[in-house]
Amino acid sequence: MRLPRLALTCWLALCVVVAVAAALRFQSSDTQNEGWALNADLRQLAPRLALHPATEAALDALTQHASQGLVVALQHPDEWQLEDAVYAFEDALSELNGLTLGSEEQALSAYRAFLLTHRFRMLNDAQWATLQSIDDATLVKRARQRLFSAASAMQLYSVEEDPFGLLNDYALAALEALSAQQAPADLTESMYVQILNVRLRDTSMSLDAQRAAIEELEAVMEAMRSADPQLSLQYSGVPRFTVDAAQEAERDIRRISMISGLGIVLLLLGILRHPAALLLPALSIGFGGLCAFVACQYLFAQVHVLAMVFGASLVGVVVDYSLHFIYCQHGSPARQSALYRALALSLLTSVLGYFALMFSGLQALQQVAAFSVIGLACGWLCVIALGPLLFRRAIEPRDHWLRARIASGLRGAQQIPKILVFMTAALIIVSALASLTRIAHFSDSPRHFFNANPALLEAEQAVQSLSDGLEPATFILASAEDASDLYRKLTTLQAAYPEAKKLLGLPNLLPAPERQDDAYERYQVLFREGGAASQLLRSLDQRPPEAEWQQALSQNWVRSGYAELLEQMGPPFDVLWQADSQEVRSLLFLPKGMNLSALGDAVAQVPGLTLLSVIEENTAALRVLRERALWLLALACGLAAMLSLTRYRHPRAALVPLSAIAVVLLVLSFAQIPISVFHVMALYLVLGLGMDYVIFVEEMARGDGDKAKTMTHTMVAIVLSAATSLLSFGLLSLSSMPVIQAFGLTVLIGNSVNLIGAFWLAGRAAYSATPRSVGA
């Protein structure tokens, strides 16, 4: 019993270390905002572009901004009844708790004020060209004409502030470009359309709060539809999809987890009749997962949520250790020795298999490797240390019927000719390899990970067709030495591809530095004492405020700051500019309907500009992840085969998990199910479980006593283990969520084959006349 005591001491020490580490990390999260960090950005899985952290932050801010927005489209055949409906909708919205009308008025008001403060630096290209082509007298004449024009009845700035109307026109052009995205598309003859932006009131609303807000919105819309059947109301936006997907996932998980939880409890308690039979697997998985999480937080700056999910799933192999421990720990010393040997070997092979992911060169897969290896090792330690304490006496499982059937199954299995099994396995493996290159389909788009509700997609398309807007999640990233360089690059792009003038970004808000200097020089002349501006006002019998102009001119001698403006405008405009001592970076948005291919070609010709589609980046990242994971799975399989050959001097042990993986790939290929990274990661679990089964069969077969009895005993543990994994993972194949279904289906098929293979191996071990060969 010295080993368990030592292990217990180690385990307790580890518990203390983990607890202290967790507490320290938790404390730092309060004080320095550096605590538990989970990353959910798919692009980070395998980033193709090394983006500056500030640009990453800007993209995150945009994603956050988009994740809160809803677009509501109201349609009515009567223009004025539609107007009434808009007022009614706005009124109703102001009464809601969770939603507010999206408004950029504050930002636009800040913009208007900023332009006024820096008015002697504002000229766009067209204005500059005009001022270059006319003399002061003509300018005064035109300005005078303009002042009496009906067209200038509504102005943003007073005549004293902007006598020539140049600032007004500059601001209007900017506002026109910025508000284009909110405008309804060309109206049909029969229907009028109004587009309203609605936002979640709080940036950190829980899913329940978001759901409540969506329900409130739908209630308002339903009431309005009832009041006016001719009114059509549609809405779309990320929160709607989020809430719907969460509801779907919740329904799924509740249904599946209830069945699987109940199944596992009934199975383990019904057969093992000991509460610790549930406690040991639960504790080992929980402790393993916790240790892995804490360790990864220290090893990596932040853990990707996908890495955590995959890693935690792979730690599920720990259940095997618990069940084998429960079944075998009270046998003869030789059997106990075989048990610990099997446990150690099983851990070693799984660790080696999962560790292969470390060679991926991708931090996401390295995180999976670290998480699963640490989690597995700690879970293993938990079983070794707590097992003897929880099961001081041997339990008496009520498994007679199961043993009888397993014994019968083993007798049947040993009769299957070895050559037939080897030939079949070889055929399956070769076919799987061929199918991977010939008929298998792959899917890496995050869009395919979730089954978007068709009704929601239809609403999304309907709303998008009704509004002008921006290409979703598509940007141009511009980086340059300084602002002048940035504007030069954009000018080069516009020269190569004139459509690029429609891009929305910083150039819509402020002129290039050089243009600002040109403007300032020109304005200095126009607004000097007795200059054109003074002449204009004097021609109207008005005393020109020359002192005020001179003061404003003297304040405007410094170029207008891009950062200053965007800071004043606030979100989402503040993402348009990031700068440090080395370079400046900006994001430009694409209006809908641009030819992305042609734009991409033009962008590629300008150094420093990059067309970034978040969806494509995510797809590419997941493709890289899947490909690397698949190659490394092959490496892990190779390691398993080597271990089998080294330890057992025969490849049959490795054939079991390899065949299981091959069968999964064949089924997926022939069923035309696109293979994703979720399938591949589940194959690691299949490999881990398969190697466990094989190792326990092989190692326990080396013990003393009745081989048939020992193998029956071992197979009971293996069948129970397979049943729990099929209940916990296999049932996921019933999920309606493609990602969950992919994982579940893979484990269901793969582990079933593992179990069949283990039966055949155990049958041969139980009834083989020759002693099993033993490695070194």
């Binding site: 009496f148 009906a150 943003l156 700035y157 005549v159 004293e160 502030e161 006002l537 109207l540 008005q542």
Partner: protein, 210 residues
């Protein structure tokens, strides 16, 4: 005077009996009219006075001709971009949203589109004074219009109608409408009698109804 009364009658009737089909009775038998205007724009301490004429067609839109101290003709069609018409009757588009909004408002105001006005503004009639002339206050309901117009007042005078727009940021605009003439179909002579501008009349008469 007749025009002013007509306009006010429309609006007040709309206030008191919105959605009433009988409102249609207030619409003019002829949808074409024209008249003179005087405009006073107040911007800061600057007062800008101008005058001119206008023609309205309920199927075409509005032609707004400033005659003094500068000449400028702007066509605000019911559909499409507003256009500036030069002395050679050539037009150039004014294609920004502000001009669209201004054109719509002027068309609704001069055309007496009570339905449109009453949907966009909260209407408030003040009790008639001793002369029994009406005074109407219109406050924008639309958030977009609230950005520019604080309040609009329409005051019936014995011989004219005064329209006063108080802007949010940049002063105010006062219009006095006078000398209304109704037409069944505007002829060249009638157009010239109102506008006295060859280029504007030429463009107006070429304009197809929507």
């Amino acid at each position: 005077m007749r025009y002013g009364l007509f306009l006010l009658a429309l609006i007040t009737a709309e206030v008191s009996a919105r959605d009433d089909a009988a409102l249609q009775a207030f619409f003019p038998e002829s949808c074409q009219h024209g008249g003179q205007f005087e405009q006073t724009r107040q911007s800061g301490s600057l007062t800008l006075e101008s005058q001119g004429a206008f023609l309205y067609d309920c199927e075409k839109g509005l032609l707004w001709l400033t005659q003094g101290p500068v000449r400028e003709a702007i066509l605000y069609p019911l559909k499409g971009d507003p256009q500036r018409i030069d002395l050679q009757a050539q037009s150039s588009a004014l294609d920004n949203r502000l001009q669209h909004a201004l054109g719509r408002l002027l068309n609704q105001l001069i055309g007496g589109d009570t339905r449109a006005l009453s949907h966009q503004f909260e209407l408030h009639t003040e009790a008639s004074d001793q002369s029994e002339l009406l005074h109407l206050t219109l406050t924008p309901r639309s958030r977009r219009m609230q950005k520019f117009i604080r309040v609009m007042q329409i005051q019936q005078q014995p011989a004219t109608v005064d329209v006063h727009l108080q802007m949010v940021e940049t002063g105010s605009l006062a219009l006095t409408l006078d000398g209304l003439q109704r037409f069944d179909r505007v002829s060249v002579a009638q157009c010239m009698s109102v506008l006295n501008d060859d280029a504007a009349c030429s463009r107006w008469l070429q304009l197809d109804a929507r």
